[in-house]
C-alpha cells in the first residue's frame, strides 16, 4: 500500500540575523496508513519542526512532504493535532473545548455531542465534561486536548511531545490510554517525544533523530505484540530496543 506520508530529502533552514541554523538535513522516510510512528531525539534535533512541516504550518527549505500523495503547501485541515501544552480555551468547559473542532469546521455541533462525550469517557473524563480547564489537572487537560484532536475522526494524528509536561507515572498511564483510544480509531499517528521508553512502548516504528543538523540516524521496527501492556516494559526485547536507541543517539 502507498505511504500516507512521504518525506523526500526534506531540508529546513532557519535564518536568524546572519546566522543560518540547519534544523533538518535530507530527511527521507515514509509512514504507512494506520501506522503509529514515534520520532525520538534530543531537544533541538528538529523533530518538532518536522511535525510542523508535516502539518503545513512551516514551509520546507528544500525537498518535499507529501500527504496522501499531495505536496503539503498550506496548513492541512484534515488532521488532528496535539501539542505539549494542552492549548485549551480557558473560557470553554471541557466538552465545549472538544467541540471547538466541530464549530471551527462549521459542522453540526449537536450531531457530534454524543461522540465528544464518548471520547471524554474513553479517556477517563466522565463527570468532568462541564469543568473549566483551570479546574482540571495537567493530565486531564491533555486528555481533553486529545479528544479534541480525534472528534472529527482525522486520518492523521500529529502529536508533539503531548506528555512531555506530565509526571512519569501519569505519563505511563496516558501511554496506555492513548493506545486504547488508537486501537479503536486506527488512524495514522506521528508522535514526537524525547522519552526513549515512550517511543518504544507506543511505536510500530521508531525514527531516531540526531541534532545539528537534524537528521534521521536510524529507523527501527518495534516487533512487540499489541495490545501493549505495562509488563512489556520489563521484557528483554523492550530493553534491547531502548539500548539500541541510546546507542544510536550517542548517549554515554
Amino acid at each position: 500500500m502507498a505511504n500516507l506520508i512521504e518525506y523526500e530529502r526534506v531540508r529546513k533552514i532557519y535564518n536568524s540575523g546572519n546566522d543560518e541554523v540547519i534544523a533538518l538535513e535530507e530527511v527521507s522516510f515514509g509512514v504507512a496508513p494506520g501506522e503509529f510512528v514515534t520520532v525520538v531525539g534530543r531537544s533541538g534535533c528538529g523533530k518538532s519542526t518536522l511535525l510542523k512541516i508535516t502539518a503545513g504550518l512551516l514551509p520546507v527549505t528544500g525537498g518535499a512532504v507529501r500527504v496522501a500523495g499531495v505536496p503539503v503547501q498550506a496548513p492541512l485541515t484534515n488532521i488532528g493535532m496535539v501539542f505539549q501544552s494542552p492549548v485549551l480555551l480557558a473560557w470553554r468547559k471541557a466538552l465545549d473545548n472538544v467541540l471547538l473542532q466541530i464549530e471551527a469546521r462549521g459542522l453540526n455541533v449537536g450531531a457530534y455531542r454524543k461522540r465528544a462525550l464518548e471520547l471524554l469517557e474513553l479517556s477517563g473524563l466522565r463527570g468532568f465534561e462541564n469543568k473549566y480547564p483551570n479546574e482540571l489537572s495537567g493530565g486531564m487537560q491533555q486528555r481533553v486536548s486529545i479528544s479534541r484532536a480525534l472528534i472529527h475522526d482525522p486520518s492523521l494524528l500529529l502529536m508533539d511531545e503531548p506528555f512531555g509536561a506530565l509526571d512519569a507515572i501519569t505519563r505511563d498511564e496516558m501511554n496506555l490510554e492513548l493506545l486504547k483510544i488508537w486501537s479503536e480509531s486506527k488512524n495514522t499517528v506521528m508522535f514526537i517525544t524525547h522519552s526513549i521508553p515512550e517511543a518504544v512502548f507506543l511505536g510500530d516504528r521508531v525514527v531516531v533523530m540526531t541534532p545539528r543538523p537534524g537528521k534521521v540516524a536510524e529507523i527501527m521496527t518495534i516487533d512487540l505484540p499489541r495490545p501493549r501492556t505495562t509488563a512489556l516494559r520489563d521484557d528483554p526485547k523492550f530493553i534491547g530496543y531502548m539500548r539500541k536507541i541510546r546507542e544510536s543517539l550517542g548517549v554515554q
Binding site: 496548513p75 492549548v87 473560557w91 471547538l100
Partner: protein, 261 residues
C-alpha cells in the same frame, strides 16, 4: 492561586467595620487635638454640609457624572476599535502603535487648558474630551494585548481546524481579550474621574471639581470633603458596575485577578 498573607478572603464586613472605626475616631479625636474646622472638618460637619447644601451638591454632581461616563465610554469604544485596527492592520501596527506610546508619555492633564480653549469652556464636550484623553490610553494598550496575546500553538491549531478569520476572532481573540479589556476598563474609569475633575478645576464653571475650588476659596473644608465623598462614591459605583459585568461575562475567571495574567 496564591492568596494574601493569611489564607482567608478579604471581606466586605471587615473593611466596613474598619472604615467606621476610622470615622468614629476622626470625630472624637479632632476636638481633643483642637484642629480648626477650616483645616479638617469632623464627619458630622461634613454631614451637616450635605443637609444644608444637598441640592447644590447634587446639581454639581450631575455634570461630573456625565463628563466621566461619556469620557469613559468614548475612550473605551475608540480604544477597543483602535486596538483592533492595530492588531489586524500591519500598517497601523507599524505607524500608529509606536506613536501612541510616544503620545501616551505626554501628561494629558497638562493639555487640559488647551482643550478648553479649542472646544469651548462652557461646553460639556471640552471636559468630556479631557476625560476621554486621560481614559483612552490604557484602553488601547490593553485591547492590543488582549487581541494579540494568544499562544502561537492555539493559532496553529485554529489553522489545522480550517478556521476562518471571522470565526477565529469570535471564538478565540474576542473572548481572550475580555480579561485585558476589563483590566483596561477599571484603569480607565478611575482615570476618567480624574480627567473630569481636573477639567472642572481649570474651567471653573460647574461640577464637583468646581465645588472643591469654591470650598478652597471660601476656606470651607466641609464642602471640599463633601465633594470628595460624592466623587469617591461615584467612582466606587462605576467601578462596581464594571466588576459586576466582568463576573457575568467571565464566569470562568471568578476569583482570578488581572495580575495573574
Amino acid at each position: 492561586m496564591e492568596k494574601g498573607p493569611s489564607s482567608s478572603e478579604p471581606s466586605v464586613k471587615w473593611s466596613v467595620l474598619f472604615f467606621l472605626c476610622v470615622v468614629v475616631l476622626w470625630q472624637l479625636l479632632l476636638p481633643v487635638f483642637k484642629i480648626p474646622s477650616y483645616l479638617l472638618p469632623t464627619p458630622l460637619a461634613i454631614l451637616a454640609e450635605f443637609q444644608t447644601r444637598g441640592g447644590f451638591i447634587f446639581a454639581n454632581f450631575l455634570p461630573t457624572f456625565y463628563e466621566t461616563v461619556l469620557g469613559f465610554l468614548i475612550g473605551a469604544l475608540i480604544g477597543v476599535v483602535s486596538g483592533l485596527g492595530i492588531v489586524y492592520s500591519k500598517i497601523l501596527w507599524l505607524t500608529i502603535y509606536p506613536s501612541l506610546v510616544v503620545i501616551g508619555s505626554i501628561p494629558r492633564i497638562a493639555i487640559a487648558p488647551l482643550i478648553l480653549i479649542w472646544i469651548g469652556i462652557d461646553s460639556i464636550w471640552s471636559k468630556v474630551t479631557i476625560a476621554f484623553l486621560v481614559a483612552f490610553f490604557p484602553m488601547v494598550v490593553n485591547s492590543v494585548a488582549g487581541f494579540s496575546h494568544i499562544e502561537g500553538e492555539m493559532l496553529d491549531l485554529a489553522k489545522t481546524m480550517g478556521m476562518k478569520p471571522w470565526t477565529e476572532f469570535r471564538k478565540i481573540r474576542l473572548p481572550n481579550s475580555l480579561p485585558y479589556l476589563f483590566a483596561g476598563f477599571k484603569a480607565s474609569i478611575a482615570l476618567a474621574v480624574i480627567g473630569a475633575v481636573v477639567a472642572e478645576f481649570v474651567s471653573g464653571q460647574q461640577g464637583l471639581g468646581y465645588l472643591i475650588i469654591i470650598g478652597n476659596n471660601d476656606l470651607n473644608a466641609a464642602l471640599i470633603f463633601a465633594s470628595i465623598t460624592v466623587l469617591s462614591a461615584m467612582s466606587l459605583g462605576l467601578f462596581g458596575i464594571i466588576v459586576g459585568l466582568e463576573k457575568v461575562l467571565m464566569p470562568w475567571r471568578r476569583g482570578i485577578y488581572p495580575s495573574d495574567l
